[in-house]
Every structure is written in C-alpha cells, then in structure tokens.
Amino acid sequence: MANGENQNPNPNPIEATPGAAARTITLKTADGEIFEVEEAVAMEFGTVKSFFEDDAVSATKPMPLPNVSGSALSRVITYCRRSLEIRSMIPPATSEDATAAEAVQGEGDLEAEKAAKQERKEFEAEFLKDESNEDVKELILAANYLNIKELLDFLCRSVALRIQNKSVEYARKFFGIEGDYTPEEEAQIRQEYAWAFEGVDED
C-alpha cells in the first residue's frame, strides 16, 4: 500500500477519494480481533506509520499488534477518529510561512480554533468518564506501544489529575504499590528534597 499518498495535512477520514472507497489498513490485535481502519486514522499510530513506510509492505496481510487488546484498540481508534475530526475543524495554514499565516489569521480562524478547543475538551472529558484505572492504564500501554503522542499525553494528564493533590499513601493505594522505603531512606529523601522549592517557578 502506498504510504506517501495521503499527504493532506488535515485528512478527513470520512471523505472518500473520488471513485474509490477510503483506503483501509487491517490490524490484528493480541486477542485475534481484526480491525479495518481508515488509512488516515491508522496513520495516526506512529507504529503503524513507520511499519508501512519502512518497506513496501503488502497491504493484504493484517498488521499484527501483539501488545494491544481488541477493546483497547477499539477505544484508541475511537479517540483518533474523533481527534482527526476535531482537527479538521481548523482550516490549515495555507501559507508556508507560519508567521505570515498567523498575521493574516482572520476572525473566522480564531473562532474555529476556539470551537475546536471546546469540542476537544468535551470529548476528552466524556472519553474517560467511565474508564476504571485499569482501563486507563491499558489505554496508556496501548497508546505508548502504538506511538500516538496526542492520546498518550492526554491519558497521562488524566492520570496525573487523578493523583494530584493527594498524599503519598493515597498514590500508593490508588495504584496498588507497596512502598519500599525504610524509614531512614524516606527521611533522607525528605531532607534532601527540602532544598527544592515546591512552588511554580516562573521563567
């Protein structure tokens, strides 16, 4: 399958190329599930992208993803698809020169960006609403393996939110970790860390 074909910076996965169905890539998960994914969405996965870019790989065989389960992949695909949609709400910069594009960025563009931001906020809040910690962790592993930076950042931020402003013991319980410090070790670390300011340091 040709990899360089889809150069559109804001691919709309729903849009079909004239006269042909949208190209799909087949993925096979660890638990044997087969997923046919629009090429644009699949190319969001860094792993998939480099797999197809490396050599002329036949498109007929499904690409194996031994580290990802079906349920995780399904969630990931949902995220990437939605994310692409939201990104296509913002008109791409037409000029090569970023600063020039910025300068002429009209009211319309700014409005579109705002709307896109809002959509993304709502979507992301909804996405993880019912996920247990175990689910979130599974998604992180999947996103890391598949090399999807945006999803990974989002997931890690969400985990951070779940543990921020909580005590050490809370963090341990939350993730089921046994603390392995001796009291002396802990005291030493606390003392060492006493030198570090806790506040946000402005630049």
């Binding site: 031994p66 592993l141 909580k166 050490v168 006493a194 030198w195 806790e198």
Partner: protein, 550 residues
C-alpha cells in the same frame, strides 16, 4: 475486576519490554517504543496481584509526572524507589534554596536529578549563599544547563561565574538578581556561552564598586543575544559594549538604571537596528534618545514609563520612522510632556497600532478621535489616571473605535452616563473593565450588562486589597523573557513623587508588617520604587491618607 478482555490479552499485555526499558534513562519526554521485531526480548511478568502502575514503562510514568507540579512530584518520589528514580530522571526544572548548607547535598541531589536543564538558585538576603565551589560542582553535574536563575547568591564571585560558564557552554538564558559578582564574571559568561539568547541583570553589586568598572561585552554571545534586560543598576552604562555589539538584538528593557542613557542609545542604534521591543522605565532619557530609537524601523512594541523628558516632539519623530508600532504604553507621570500632539502623530503614522495604554497622560477628544479613525486595528485600549477622559471622551471612543475589543478605564472622571455610550458603540467590544472611577456605580455597570449581553463588564471600586500587578508589570518584574505581549489589564497608577508616596509605600504592603514597610520606604529613598507596590500604594494613599506611616 470487570475485565472485558480475554485472558489471552491479559498475558500478552504483560509481555511488555519492561525491564529493558527501565534500564534506559528517560531524559526525553517520551521515547517512542519501536514496534517489536519479534517477541523474544520480552519478559513475562508473573501474575499475582497486579501492580498497575509498575507495569507502565518508565517513559509513561515520566509523562504522567510531567503534568504534576514540584510539590506533587516530591510526593510521587516518596511512593517507591522506582518512582523516585523516574521522577528524578525526568526532572528538567529545579528550583533550589541556595543557602550555603546546600553544598553538602549537591552530590546526591544532582545524582538523583541528572537531567536538569533549567535551574534556579535562590537565596534569601539574611543567609549566606552557596559559594563558588558549590556553583562549580553544580555546573559540573549539569553540563546541559540551558537556563540559570540566580537570586541573592551573594557569595558567588567572578571566579565562580567563570568556572560555571566554562562548564555550561550551552547556556541560553541567564537571569541574575541581587548578586555581587562583577564585570569579570559577566564577561566570562559572555565569552563562554556563545548561544546565550537572554540576559537579565538586576542589581549587580560588583559593577558599582570601584571607580571604573570594566566594560561588559560583547563576547562570543554577541550574535546570539536576542533579549537584554537591565534593572536597577548603578553603573548600567558599562553594559554599553554588550548592547551595541548584539547585532541581532530584538528586545531591550531598561528599568531604573542611573545615568544618562541618551548617548548610549545613540551609539547602540547606530549598530543595532533590529530591535522590535523596547521598554524604558524611570530612566534618564529624552527626545534625543527617542530619536535614536527611531532608527529601529521595525520597532513594534514601545513602553515609556515615567520618562518625563520624553515629550511630544520625541514621540512625533519616533512615530514618523517607526511605522510598524503595534503596542504603545506610555506612563506620563502626569507630567504632561506627552499629550494630544504626540498621540495624533502616532495615530497618523502608525496605522497598525493594536494596543494602547496611557497612564497619567491627558488625551482629549482630539487625539482619541484621531486614534480611532486612523488606527483601524486598535483592539485594546487602557486609560488610567487621566483627568481629561470623561463621558464625552468615552462617547467618542464608542462611536469611532470599530475594532476595539477590550477597554479599561481606571481613575478617570467617567460616570454612568459614559457607560450608556458603550451599550451601542464599539461593535467589536468584548470586555470592559472599570476601576476606581468614582462616578461609576454598580447600577451603571448592571445597566450596561443588561443592555449588552455579549459584553463582559467588570467593575471594581472596592477597597479590597488585591495584588493587582498588571500583566505588563508582572512581566517587568520577571526580567528577561519575551514579555511585552498581552493586554495590560491594569496598568499601575501614576506614582506621586512626593513625601506622600514615601508614606504610602511604607503602608503599601499587604500585612503592614513593620519590617516590610521599613524596607519599602528604604527602597523608595533609594529611588527604586518597584512597580508592583505602586498599585497598592495609590490605593492606600487615596483611602488612608492620614493613616499613612512614615
């Protein structure tokens, strides 16, 4: 546990290259995992009670920690040894209390935090700071430092700075305040750190001692420097060669530095014409200096704060040559040297003006009209402490400023009637802020809100003590940095150069603590009034005149 995945998935999920990853140091944010060629490298982690987060590879944990602040990261490092290691390795920014006792912990601290690129060493005025040896040791361990911030590290000398600079040649930003080293140390930094982009210096004692301080600059950093910020220097002129030699300089900020700067600005602008942003505050500079600055035809941002020797004439000549001016802040200190004439010239020459802040300046309808008509992109306007801005002037603004999005009026004789004009004027208006306008009441504000629902109306007449440092003010206090952008929500009210100010400053600090007020009035006597305290100053002064302590 509500697992929807099959058991096959469970065990395959655990076949993750766990231990392989934990050996590598994750200094970058996330090192993307390569797609596995085959599964032989993987270790199978036995089942048993799932230790959820330990299954996450190091780089994912580092990514999680990235969203946490310093205190939270500290708690994470106390969770277990693995978290300690990862947290330490993914720490890029560290701020340390740089007392002399820190020295003994430097070794272990920086073994743990081995990826620090942005470091702040802050000491307080009462303690002795780390010495040269400490700084050298730190620099030895943090060879990749890109930013260093020093505060009140009074025990660092030129020798220490030189040794540091030789270790951290990749330094991009240096900000030092209340340090005591001198020109030699500064020159050593400039010689060694050839990628230096930002230099911010406040109160450097070492350059004031001695009759003739060594000149500073330009050094190897001449072409890389983009921002220079000098504050409260007695002998700031010795930085002359540096500024003059920084041929790619974009931003120059000079605050409360003694001496006459006209001549230096002349020689600077003969060689450096790339300046885009200039801040001059409490500086001895006149129209001669303004004319010199006008050599920089790309100038976009200009702040003239309390420079009463700059007059309409200087502003006019500047506007004629700096036609790309986008943001203009003038604090005229009620000296009335800058007024309608200068502003009209700006309006006619600088059609791109987007942001205008006038404090202690008295524009009339004449200039306001001209600005409104000629500056079609004027989006943000702030008028503060103007005796001449009343209801008719607001009506004028409302009628003519088509592009205006944000309006801020403070301490002006505007009344509720003026608000009426805003209900229908300024078609692009999104936000209006009114502060300390005695004749504007809650009713007026409510009325406006009801009659123009899309408009955010903010009224503040209160005596509530708020640390009101405006955006631009805050940027000033933070030295260096790109600054200058953003709206000045509340420009500081005009200073009152009299004993009242001294008394007011003394009473200025929030908790009115004895020692604070003493140091505040001491500051004033040295003529180094900080912008931030001014906001509180005038508030106190106007409300508690007789209560002010001396």
């Amino acid at each position: 546990m509500g697992q929807s995945t099959s058991t096959a998935a469970n065990s395959s999920r655990r076949e993750i290259n766990h231990s392989h990853r934990s050996k590598s140091k994750s200094t970058a944010l996330i090192s993307p995992m390569q797609p596995p060629e085959d599964n032989d490298d993987y270790e199978i982690i036995d089942g048993g009670d799932p230790d959820y987060i330990s299954e996450l590879p190091d780089e994912c944990l580092a990514c999680i920690f990235q969203s946490l602040n310093s205190g939270e990261r500290k708690r994470c490092s106390l969770v277990c040894h693995r978290w300690l290691r990862i947290e330490g390795q993914s720490r890029h920014r560290l701020s340390l209390n740089a007392k002399s006792e820190l020295y003994k912990d430097i070794d272990s601290l920086f073994s743990r935090f081995d990826s620090v690129t942005k470091l702040a060493l802050k000491c307080d005025r009462r303690s002795s700071s780390i010495c040269d040896d400490g700084l050298v040791l730190i620099s030895d361990k943090c060879r990749n430092l890109t930013r260093l911030k020093l505060r009140a590290c009074r025990d660092l000398t030129d020798a220490g700075m030189e040794a540091f600079a030789k270790n951290c040649k990749g330094l991009k930003k240096l900000s030092c305040g209340s340090c005591t080293f001198g020109a030699k140390g500064m020159n050593a930094v400039l010689e060694n750190c050839s990628s230096l982009e930002e230099l911010s210096v406040k109160r450097l004692r070492g350059i004031t001692d001695g009759a003739a301080a060594e000149p500073i600059g330009p050094g190897a950093a001449a072409s890389s420097l983009k921002t220079i910020c000098l504050k409260e220097l007695y002998n700031g002129q010795c930085f002359g060669p540096l500024i003059t030699g920084a041929k790619n300089l974009k931003t120059l900020k000079l605050y409360r530095c003694s001496g006459d700067w006209d001549k230096l600005l002349q020689s600077v602008t003969e060689h450096v014409t790339s300046l885009i942003e200039i801040h001059l505050e409490r500086l001895q500079v006149s129209d001669v200096g303004l004319l010199a600055i006008s050599n920089c035809s790309d100038l976009e941002i200009l702040h003239l704060v309390k420079t009463p020797e700059c007059t309409n004439i200087g502003l006019l000549s500047l506007s004629e040559r700096c036609k790309h001016l986008r943001k203009l802040h003038i604090d005229g200190w009620k000296a009335n040297r800058i007024g309608d004439d200068g502003l009209i010239a700006v309006s006619k020459n600088c059609g791109n003006l987007q942001e205008l802040v006038l404090i202690g300046v008295n524009p009339t309808k004449q200039s306001l009209e001209s600005l409104a008509t000629n500056c079609k992109n004027l989006e943000r306007l702030a008028l503060c402490g103007s005796d001449t801005v009343g209801d008719p002037e607001i009506s004028c603004i409302a009628a003519k400023c088509i592009a205006l999005k944000k309006l801020c009026i403070k301490s002006c004789p505007v009344s509720n009637q003026g608000l009426e004009a805003l209900a229908n004027g300024c078609p692009s208006l999104v936000k209006v802020k009114l502060k300390k306008c005695r004749a504007v009441t809650m009713e007026g504000a409510e009325w406006l809100k009801n009659n123009r629902e899309s408009l955010a109306v903010n009224l503040d007449n209160g005596e509530t003590e708020q640390q009101d440092a405006s955006a631009s003010d805050g940027a000033q206090e933070n030295g260096g940095g790109g600054g200058g952008g953003g709206v000045a929500e509340f420009p500081p009210p005009p200073a009152v150069p009299s004993q009242m100010a001294a008394a007011a400053v003394a009473a200025a600090s929030n908790n009115m603590a004895g020692s604070t007020s003493r140091s505040s009035s001491m500051k004033w006597r040295l003529g180094l009034l900080s912008g931030r305290s001014l906001a509180c100053t005038l508030r106190r002064w106007s409300s508690a005149n007789s209560n002010a302590r001396g």
